[in-house]
Amino acid sequence: MPTILVIAARDDWPTDRVVNVLTNRGVRVFRMDTADFPQQAILAGRIGTRRGWSGRLANSHRAVELSDIEAVYFRAPHQFRLTDGMSKAEQRFAAAQARAGFGGVISALDARWVNHPAAMTRAEYKPIQLATARECGLTIPPTLVTNDPDAVRAFAEDTPGPIICKPVASPVFIEGNELKTVYTRRLSPHDLVDLRGIDTTAHLFQAWIEKAYEVRLTIAGDRLLAAEVHARSARGHEDWRSDYGSLIYHRTDTPADVAEGVHRLMGRLDLRFAALDFVVSPSGAWTFLEANPCGQWDWIQGATGLPIAEAIADELQGVPT
């Protein structure tokens, strides 16, 4: 029986919304978290010259034949939960085996992926996003990635206006038992006086793009679901994640030339879902900032009514758009 495999954390509630849409449409769904393997989920996959991967994936509540899986929704699942009592060395060994074995079989399924994990991993890299976006005809901000303080000074001198810095990878960390984050920061000349610590790791700098507002463009399959994000505070204007309370949202349309570039970008990155961030200048020009292959989308649907969960379900079902 045709089935859609959902691999996601159990407490990922936006995934509930997608599961609910699919279930209401009468689609058979098998949902699991990779943390279920190997203790609560069983995989028995076979492959031979005459047939691709087949066999059984099961938990205590349901089972699915691998060859029946027509689509996979892969969204930030957890690591494998291994048997208590293993030594550290055994845990590392077993986790690697699970990853290459379970992950390998699942990754090899000939299915519609939203998104394929390997594609998602590659697309997480901001430098790859920027290079690909540029090649696809999208406007990007001048950008520097460096651990060289002199390169930072040179970039600031070469850039006509202000520059910003932002993390190249995850902005969130815990320090001193306190959760902290690093938002995009528009740098003042004073910020650039003391550059000690630049050489400790990679840092990303970009030209600050004057903006009227930003756009969170969610793509599911071939559908572009765009929402203007208007910040009504100074800190929200600098990085809207820093002040959700100041934000208002409106549905909007994606300009044709941007849409064409975005479709090319998604194709080049081999993604079927992503949440893209754009800056829109006062004159209406769109500048690509970044792509989030596993980006949050539920609050945008809530604020604008954009049918994102339905679009993800359409893509998983292979509904033509």
């Binding site: 509930d16 609910n20 997480e124 902290k180 690093v182 938002y183 959700y244 949440a275 539920d298 609050w299």
Partner: protein, 98 residues
């Protein structure tokens, strides 16, 4: 075709029990601390969203509330704002990292 050095990179998973690793260590010195971390801050807790209590229901394959009312996902359209509370880490917009 892209070749990955390690299967970990090709099959991304969240950390085992928590999205952000715990640490009781404080900042190091100015020559060893990544420069950008001088701009790190504890997010605004006044905008934190309290998630309703819920459990995962194997039958429906969705979370259900502990009390009568709409399903949990129907009650939470707001993004979870990092509030400094380590039991309420934010979703990582950048996706799974390890």
């Amino acid at each position: 075709m892209t070749t990955f050095a390690h299967p970990r990179e090709a099959f991304p998973l969240l950390p085992h029990s928590e999205r952000t690793p715990q640490s009781n260590e404080g900042p190091s010195g100015s020559t060893t601390r990544p420069w950008i971390l001088r701009f790190a801050r504890v997010p605004d807790s006044t905008q934190a969203i309290e998630k309703p209590a819920a459990v995962y229901d194997e039958g429906s394959q969705m979370s259900v509330g502990l009390y009568d009312g709409p399903l949990p996902y129907m009650t939470t359209h707001s993004p979870t704002v990092p509030d400094g509370n380590m039991t309420n880490p934010p979703p990582l917009d950048e996706g799974p990292k390890d």
